[in-house]
Point group: C2
Chain length 447, copies 2
């Protein structure tokens, strides 16, 4: 083998050398990155050991951007491929978005020996292993702190700070749009539709909010967090994903009454064998009932927060703005300093390293707890009959509560931990039971 | 110049080479570090790129430790100097504590080209610049994540994640003992003395609690955070330090009534000129009134939490166990993986880099807000008279409240921001005023 991977020693250019940077994309984040590179140039040079020199900015429409103040004096081009190929480019910053086009560019950059900083969660969640392999083969860095929760440094924390520990579980609010909507529903009693309209009006939700409200954005982040945390390749397709579009004002009100808050959580979990060894890992996204005294319950507005449990470190939480031009650019710049330092001083950042290679199991195999709200016939013995249905499937109940309202009765059932698959089967069975008029909501509980 | 600093390129040994480690000290943290190195050895090797080999453990009393399970098969010695000097030691882990003796050993290690991981906040706060210079000269790493808030990765975050941003302010609860005592006083209404006794009984406070309760421990951490955050050398002696031993049950009760919580905060602040440029920096530790809706107010028991405000990233918070054998060892191991990776793959971690070299001003020059509680003579016009005292010094008042209790009156004054020095002078003057029977408490407010 002659690749950089085989000798594992990565020399640098030496102190004082300039680091050439190509910026791909000039949307909100790209613009802010360029602005900060200008504002902080002296600081960046001191922290890196050599000056940052922007070799060019690639955009799809040069005409549209050519008068922007932050590109004056810089090469502006619609030929991203040629910019990436330039010999004097050491680090490529990808802030385009999308998957196929940036994938081509990032692979080209890595294969040409350039380090890459990307904020693109969809790209990393779909093709992270291909990119990591290319980076390893070329002996360069691939950074993506900004892909998860913007400036909240959770990727760096998993990459470095917890490098001597064993991560057991990660549970996070990693999508600001859905947290804004759920918080607005909880605060004002609004319906999902009204809260979404308000989020759109205020710019927290995009015109097409699907990727946010159906949990796809959070699922990309869950895939990245699980890959880093468990040293196992977890892709977007491995992540069970359920959004918030079916959450009703009644669900929110019922949660509040029970001193709980509904949050869309990304959960990455290690599953154990009886001897304490790791059996597999799982990653998923779904609305979750969080007890009000848990720190995640009080994360309001569009804030993000990530809870990490590690064997030695215990419980850690990180909180901050999980989106927005400036916070995302802060994360990109932090990565750029790291990649540029390594170009100067040698060495490589710890890469995605899937050595543990655990089985990634689907959600069916995971143990969860259910909170089921049903409308049932108001007859004597219905509670006992339905409770039996759970007992017959070996699912043990933590609480059953019956509430009368007019001529209907509501039955609220809270289970102990059981396999997701078994719980779902019971709920499907109950939905067809003659005494069950409707299953109003099924929510999982966080513990 | 022929030092490593001058060429700024740091080659490694190459993948697969073993990394020799010396462990200095085998108290709670050292023991846990040895245990985790054993438990996680395969993980560590995969993450580093070569195996960790412990060359020896230095203790003051070999006899006392020789039967401990975690040192079986290892060299146990009371000659730390010889252990550090060994050619096959690449990284030295210092978990002894104290200042002068570990300083000698750490300097010897750095000068001999060994990277150092230390958990010793007092050493770094007192001699950080001397150690950083030695590390720079030799081109090796000096890591100390565990010196501040154990496994909460705030040092790494300042070192790396925010490397492309500008830190404006850091405010943190960085001492678990004092947070436990203040939380117990707030929860149970206990006196300071009783809460301290309880903390001692439960092992949260040491037999001699001075370093914790007088704020010295927090001040060391403030010096380290300010140095990293502001790229300016700030030492323990630069940090104004006021502990919690004079906080009374009455202070706590009064804070609660005003929807505030008293926390011992380490505050590192950037001071600005009128044009927005940085004038100076300040670091200090004192009891502070924190509004109950601020995330720091709800940090209970012995937990730590650190709030960081940066120009682009906005407000970030980090929360977790700030002390204890396992969390501290987690941080040490994370650093050890980083130092060992660089020994294998080359490169260096970003070092303390005081290039900004701001003036470090004393507390007198900083603007704060005061909350003053006085017992005054109950006569007509006393409120107006005393309020005039503030006006005469150009200190503007946010609120003045008079409360009768029996034949005394309490006057509570809350100021707007003014220079600490001016505020202190007014309080000194008021203490001598004929209508003031006693100044019961003076607390600063967090905003």
């Amino acid at each position: 083998m002659t690749s950089a991977e085989s000798n594992g020693n990565y020399p640098g250019k030496g102190a004082g050398a300039p680091v050439g940077v190509a910026i791909l994309g000039k949307g909100t984040v790209g613009t802010e990155v360029l602005r900060l590179i200008g504002e902080f140039s002296n600081n960046l040079e001191q922290r890196i050991g050599g000056p940052i020199e922007v070799r060019g900015v690639a955009v799809s429409n040069v005409e549209k951007h050519k008068d922007a103040p932050e590109v004056q004096g810089l090469l502006l081009t619609d030929d991203a491929h040629s910019l990436v190929e330039r010999d004097d480019v050491d680090v490529v910053v990808e802030v385009i978005g999308g998957i196929d086009y940036p994938r081509e560019l990032v692979l080209k950059a890595l294969r040409a020996g350039k380090s890459v900083v990307t904020a693109n969660k969809a790209l990393v969640a779909a093709h992270g292993s291909e990119l990591a392999d290319a980076a390893n083969e070329a002996g360069v860095d691939l950074y993506y702190e900004a892909a998860v929760a913007a400036a909240i440094p959770v990727v760096g924390m998993l990459r470095r700070s917890l490098a001597g520990d064993q991560v057991q579980r990660i549970a996070g609010i990693v999508n600001g749009t859905t947290n804004f909507i759920l918080d607005a529903m909880a605060t004002t009693g609004a319906s999902y539709e009204d809260a979404l309209a308000e989020a759109t009006r205020l710019g927290y939700a995009e015109a097409d909010p699907t990727a946010d409200v159906e949990g796809h954005d959070a699922a990309s982040k869950a895939a990245i967090l699980a890959s880093m945390g468990f040293h196992t390749r977890v892709t977007f397709d491995d992540v069970y994903c359920e959004g918030i579009s079916s959450i009703t004002a009644e669900d929110i009100a019922a949660a509040k009454k029970a001193n709980q808050t509904i949050k869309l959580l990304a959960i990455c979990e290690r599953l154990f064998n009886e001897d304490g060894s790791t059996r597999a890992v799982n990653a998923r996204v779904h609305p979750t009932l969080v007890p009000n005294d848990h720190p995640l319950a009080s994360v309001d507005q569009s804030y993000n927060a990530i809870f990490v449990e590690a064997e030695a470190a215990g419980r850690l939480m990180f909180y901050g703005n999980g989106a927005g031009g400036a916070p995302t650019a802060s994360a990109v710049l932090g990565d750029l300093v790291g990649a540029a330092r390594n170009k100067i001083h040698g060495g490589r950042a710890p890469a995605e390293n899937p050595y543990a290679n655990y089985d990634v199991v689907g959600f069916d195999e995971v143990e969860t707890r259910y909170h089921v709200n049903m409308t049932v016939n108001d007859r004597v013995g219905v509670l006992a009959d339905l409770a039996h249905q759970f007992a017959d499937s070996d699912v043990s109940l933590a609480a059953v509560r019956q509430e009368e309202s007019g001529d209907e009765a509501h039955l609220i059932v809270v289970t102990h931990k059981a396999r997701e698959k078994d719980l779902r089967e019971i709920v499907d069975r109950l939905a067809k039971h003659e005494d069950v008029r409707a299953v109003n909501s099924v929510l999982r509980l966080h513990d």
